[in-house]
């Protein structure tokens, strides 16, 4: 018997939203608990944009007034990721809050080492939510791991009164109240919702740029009903995030067969067992993308994925593997489209793979840009100036 490949592929072309198979909306329980005085629900501030999640439930994405829940991996090792998010918001004239009263979600460590527990993880999450609430700004989560983990934490708190009681008692000792945001929002959802405004501010033509997208596991696999989908993007079979933005920017999105595979990050593996990470990232992702789609750049929307897919390629070159494609976040890609400085804003010198051919294709003179960066660096080295400011990077 032959395998009916075409039939199988046809079945995968579209995801039909079926009203009989819609997971229940968590908001009902969320607001019920608020009415019973269990916690405060921080409302999504107006104005907001509504986008559709996997099973059709609309999700409100605020336009402005966000509290930036930073990512330790982005700020620490890929700082251009964070600075690009800020830069795009500033360029669009959007007010935000960059807090110091924020810890990491600590979930990278939790998924790596399990040296924590559900109560501690929930308390860390709600401490941050409470800190955001105190400022009046609404949390925007930069990291896919934090986003996925916080959604898990929300599920656990919604369903386990004993956990809520324990977390309430811990937060009470810190003088913090129980706060849960109406929606948990990932920065890439904001970029998706704002894609037309971002495209309207575009200054470079990206029509000649070919892109492959790696969707981040913890964005859409964890609590899947909360991720954004569009029937017109991949037939609603994959999240519309990143791809929708790239299309709005006029670049070409190319598909590849291992899109569902993770990147190989592994949480503990990337730190202490990188042979697995390197092999997986190159053999299951980069090489497949190169062979099937030959992109100019790989875009993704999570700390771990950018790190893994970017850093794993160097060692593979020694084995003559078919690698060598730049990797960045879609926030950096959008910032470049809007005219951001590749070094002062996008910080591409922190990346490992060679991004220079891509910049040339985008029409960016990287030699001149690097010379400008070095001139500014010298000012700091000489002590003429202590820091580079937002005004400096746009000068």
């Amino acid at each position: 018997m032959t395998i009916p490949v075409q039939l199988l592929l046809k079945k995968k072309e579209h995801f039909e939203r079926d009203e009989h198979h819609v997971p229940s909306d968590f908001h009902e329980e969320l607001f019920r608990l608020e009415a019973e005085g269990e916690w405060v629900v921080q409302r999504v501030p107006e104005p907001y944009i509504e986008v559709a999640t996997k099973y059709g439930r609309p999700k409100k994405i605020p336009v402005a007034g966000m509290w930036h829940h930073k990512s330790c991996g982005q700020c620490g090792h890929i700082p251009g990721y964070s600075t690009s998010i800020y830069w795009v918001m500033r360029r669009l004239g959007i007010d935000y809050n960059d807090p110091r009263d924020q810890t990491s979600c600590t979930a990278w460590n939790y998924y790596a080492s399990a040296t924590s527990n559900a109560a501690a993880q929930a308390a860390v999450a709600l401490r941050n939510f409470s800190a955001a609430y105190e400022t009046g700004y609404f949390p925007l989560i930069h990291c896919g791991t934090s986003y996925g983990h916080y959604k898990e934490v929300r599920e656990e708190l919604l369903h386990h009164p004993a956990l809520r009681a324990q977390v309430r008692s811990v937060l009470g000792k810190l003088g913090k109240q129980m706060v849960m945001p109406e929606e948990i929002i990932h920065y890439s959802e904001w970029f998706y919702a704002m894609r037309d405004r971002i495209a309207a501010a575009q200054v470079l033509d990206f029509s000649g740029i070919a892109v492959t997208v790696h969707p981040a596991c913890h964005y859409y696999k964890l609590v899947e009903g909360d991720a954004i989908y569009d029937p017109d993007i991949y037939g609603g079979q994959r999240t519309a995030i990143v791809t929708g933005l790239v299309q709005a920017l006029g670049a070409e999105v190319r598909t590849y067969s291992t899109w569902f595979d993770c990147c190989g990050f592994g949480f503990r593996h990337i730190l202490v067992q990188r042979d697995f990470t390197r092999s997986f990232a190159t053999q299951r992702k980069i090489e497949v993308m190169k062979e099937e789609a030959n992109p100019d750049v790989v875009l993704t929307h999570d700390t771990g994925c950018v790190t893994t897919l970017d850093k794993s390629q160097f060692a593979a070159q020694a084995h003559n593997k078919n690698v060598g494609v730049p990797v960045m976040s879609e926030a950096q890609f959008a910032a470049l489209a809007m005219g951001a400085h590749p070094y002062k804003v996008c910080q591409l010198h922190w990346h490992s793979t060679d991004y220079r051919p891509l910049l040339e294709k985008m029409g960016i003179d990287w030699r001149e840009a690097w010379a400008e960066f070095e001139r500014d660096a010298d000012k700091l080295r000489r002590g003429d100036q202590q820091f580079l400011t937002w005004e400096d990077v746009d000068a």
Binding site: Q166, V170, S352
Partner: protein, 255 residues
């Protein structure tokens, strides 16, 4: 019950073990890479896994279909299988679950690709719980898996951010290319060139408010997360406890 024969090495002859039919992958103690413990102890550990409030949400039986295996990165690159995890749990196979806690669970990438399970299972989530139990009970696998990882635990628990710019040292990441050396050599200047004021730091991802850190320390104390460290690394626990208690004392906070 069935008798399964294990091929032995020279001089060892044939090892035989009496095991459940469902545990065809169970290793006899003589070939397992971990110490055997009395059955009651294994049962206690398994009970601890099953008592976790999340456990009923992570397991609804198993079709044995292998969809999770097809999606699993660790199954592709290790001798590891989320289906075996779900099967052992669904059968409440104490011997096999203990073996998995000592051998398999640290291979998992925690990517949660396996939640595409048509039965609604979350094998990766079961593993999270098994890992927590392994840490809580100081199992050999947990101690071994966390060797070389302790500086990360120290960083996250004491500073509130997990990876810091100054970790980017060429000797720590020789496989990440020459850019790591460039970053480490220019770290101070390149950090001060980042336009957000919160990101001029080198030993943390961003500038965390001291008050925020104290709140984090209280969370570690109050939820028992700090105590968990004692089970896998006494030295690290001592250092962390000292650092945190000193800060809390300075602030006049009594626990």
């Amino acid at each position: 019950m069935s008798m399964l024969a294990y091929p032995g090495g020279s001089g060892r002859g044939r090892l035989e073990a009496v095991i459940d039919a469902g545990s065809a992958l169970l290793k006899a103690p003589a070939v397992a890479g971990f110490a055997d413990v009395p059955f009651a102890e294994k049962q206690r550990l398994v009970d601890e896994v099953m008592a976790d409030m999340r456990y009923p949400d992570y397991l609804y039986g198993c079709y044995e279909c292998g969809i999770c295996v097809a999606a699993c990165p660790s199954a592709r690159f290790y001798d590891f299988s989320p289906r075996r995890i779900a099967q052992a749990s669904a059968r409440e196979d104490v011997e096999l679950m203990y073996q998995q806690m000592e051998e398999d669970i640290w291979e998992c990438s925690q990517c949660f690709s396996c939640v595409r399970c048509p039965r609604g299972n979350n094998p990766g989530g079961i593993i999270t719980i098994m890992r927590e139990v392994a840490v809580n009970n100081g199992l050999g696998s947990a101690r071994k898996a966390l060797e070389g990882y302790t500086r990360i635990i120290y960083k996250i628990m004491s500073t509130g951010t997990q990876v810091s710019p100054d970790m980017l040292q060429p000797d720590a990441f020789p496989d990440w290319g020459p850019e790591v050396k460039d970053v480490s050599e220019n770290l101070d200047v390149w950090r001060r060139m980042l336009p957000p004021e919160t990101m001029h730091t080198t030993s943390t991802g961003w500038d965390v408010d001291p008050r925020t850190l104290i709140e984090l320390y209280l969370i570690w104390f109050e939820t028992g997360a700090l105590d968990m460290i004692k089970k896998v690394d006494e030295g690290l626990h001592m250092i962390l406890e000292e650092v945190m208690e000193e800060r809390l004392e300075e602030e006049g906070i009594e626990r």
